[in-house]
Symmetry: C2
Subunit: 372 residues, 2 copies
């Protein structure tokens, strides 16, 4: 892979866009609007946030100067604090959330201004990847196809009949790990998901994308012309350093649409690089338990001073007292629970109900609570 990369492309024109927005509902009460998932240390290192882990993972290919982090204006400070070495101008703050197409489009234009030949890689900031070696070889392979002017996505080999993800259908073989895409498939029902799992022709859509900046600009011009016009205005404004001023009106003028729906489903050629690489999209507290490091012999993941009496497979996070001694937690006769304590809230939830934390968030919203 390394040979493949070095032989046909210049690594110094590879740029990364890390998508670090998010509304902070799935990991309530640890995640909030002001502290969404990417700021939580949910991976294997309990001292490193998902965002920092995502950026650090790119170190093999991208120095800080070629990494851009796209986030919301309200997360600017938190993002800069998490990544103090990142150049200030590499934090791209959307004035309002418009899903991924406007965001990736804007970041692509920013990169293209700097380097018209740029290859752009897009990574969600809040996923976990356990197998770093496989990640690196997969990314290099994806860059190789992007360098051939493919749109590229990483497809994850399914390990279960998951109905919560979009899928990619594999077409013609490009090599032993890469394929042409036969199309994107919406979240399937359980039957379809089982067929996908057994059929071997469908991979999970990981949300990672690779493309040449100029190729993406052309695709946006064709499929999202309104967005293309706004981005062209921003390019112009950037010459006179007035991009920031123009940004809100441009974002207000464009439709809220994902890069999948807005671009990827309509373009060609699209390549898929197949990978496993211990990928987890950290969709809920259940993922938090699955990936938690240092579980005890009863599969409890908890602070070291926790006390368990006949309790198994629980996930406990005591985040409430950052500056003082953490509370001692004791579990008696309970299995398969998520217990999360913060300074102002406590969640006790069955692990297999992790998706339903959204009902709590909804109720809080209705009550106008300040806990969101």
């Amino acid at each position: 892979m390394a040979a493949l990369l070095s032989s046909d492309m210049e690594p110094q024109n590879i740029y990364a866009i890390v998508l670090a927005g998010g509304s902070g509902t799935r990991f309530w009460p640890a995640s909030r609007k002001s502290n969404p998932k990417q700021f939580l240390a949910l991976g294997s290192d309990p001292h490193e946030s998902l965002l920092v882990a995502t950026v650090r993972r790119l170190g093999f290919l991208c120095p800080w100067q070629r990494i851009y982090v796209a986030t919301g204006e309200h997360l600017r400070e938190a993002t800069r604090n998490a990544l103090p070495a990142l150049p200030e101008e590499n934090v791209l703050c959307e004035p309002l959330a418009r899903n991924t197409a406007p965001c990736i489009g804007w970041a692509t234009h920013v990169v293209a201004r700097k380097d018209p030949t740029a290859i752009v890689m897009v990574f969600p900031a809040d996923h976990c990847i356990e197998n770093i070696e496989e990640f690196q070889s997969t990314v290099k392979e994806a860059c190789h196809w992007a360098n051939q002017d493919f749109f590229v996505t990483i497809g994850i080999q399914p390990s279960r009949a998951e109905t919560g993800y979009g899928y990619i259908e594999l077409g013609e073989t490009l090599n032993h790990t890469s394929f042409r895409s036969q199309g994107f498939v919406e979240k399937p029902d359980a039957d379809k998901a089982t067929k996908f799992l057994n059929g071997g022709k469908h991979l999970w859509n990981s949300g990672m994308f690779f493309f040449r900046a100029s190729v993406m600009k052309q695709a946006i011009a064709r499929h999202l012309p309104q967005l293309a016009r706004g981005l062209a205005q921003l390019d112009e404004a950037s010459v006179t350093h007035s991009e920031q001023m123009l940004l809100p009106s441009v974002f207000e003028s464009v439709a809220s649409i994902s890069i999948d729906h807005g671009v990827m489903e309509h373009v060609s050629p699209v390549a898929v690089v197949r990978a496993e690489m211990g990928w987890n999209d950290m969709g809920s507290w259940e993922s938090g338990w699955e990936l938690a490091a240092g579980k005890d012999e009863n599969q409890n993941a908890a602070p070291s001073n926790a006390i368990f009496v006949d309790s198994k497979r629980n996930f406990v996070q005591m985040l409430g007292q950052a500056n003082t001694k953490a509370k001692t937690v004791a579990l008696v006769g309970v299995d398969d629970l998520i217990v999360v304590e913060t300074e102002d809230a406590l969640l006790v939830m069955r692990r297999d109900r992790s998706q339903d934390v959204r009902h709590v968030v909804e109720q809080l919203r209705q009550k106008n609570q300040t806990l969101l």
Copy 2:
């Protein structure tokens, strides 16, 4: 009942001893050595501790001057703070715990010095009684028999085959609610408890006792002669105001024994007054849930800002932030849990495992934790 009391005795010689020691393990983490059960608001009034409720319940018969609270030296301040109207000298602090016989013996001597004709009533400080009218009539009836020089206990009509209580076997009928005791029975096994429940001849030993002070003094002299000698020394010392000085050596010299084993099992005549009166000994968090006021339609007892999603029959106490806004607690898909949060600890426990909180306390003790 009121007529019975007024016709044959002087209410002004009726004194109460409230037993308010305790080690604070069953209601961990709310209860601690320095804050045992009687200081918790576990009854129907969420703003009144069990101790205050116990003393207040005696108001129909005893003014403050005739109420004594027996506790440990380490609880002196907490007890006085809880009962600021109680005369200072009515707080009797044991220098070390020696079970109930030395404590009740000492308090009986203190009362007898003041009034040699005294009738003494003994009440645990940490029980709940819901039916106040029945409590009052039962207490008056018990005092009536104590005035006839009976040792008297209140026997609670069993409502289940409880193996955690001692029982009293009923003998000869004295009137429609009172009987001679046929003997005290240790905690039975499940078979025996079922027989007791169905047989109708056994009542739960409530731990409430009534006797004439002079009669108890004689009984102690006969059955616990070493204790009697120590108490006589304290009587002498009290004349020269040196009782406090002598107290530690006296308590060190006497055996640790309950009033049941040390006295009640050996004396006669013993009367039992049968009652129901919504009595609950608050033996565990399970009792806390049973008695909790203001349960919602799913039988959850929790702070009013709690959020429940598909969760039933849970008991939640958020005690962690006395001076600031209480945490918001959310339960998702969990039933029959006890959730108790304090400033330094969090307990999550299946309700039917409430007795096992002692295993947590044991583990904390082994770890030399400061949470006891």
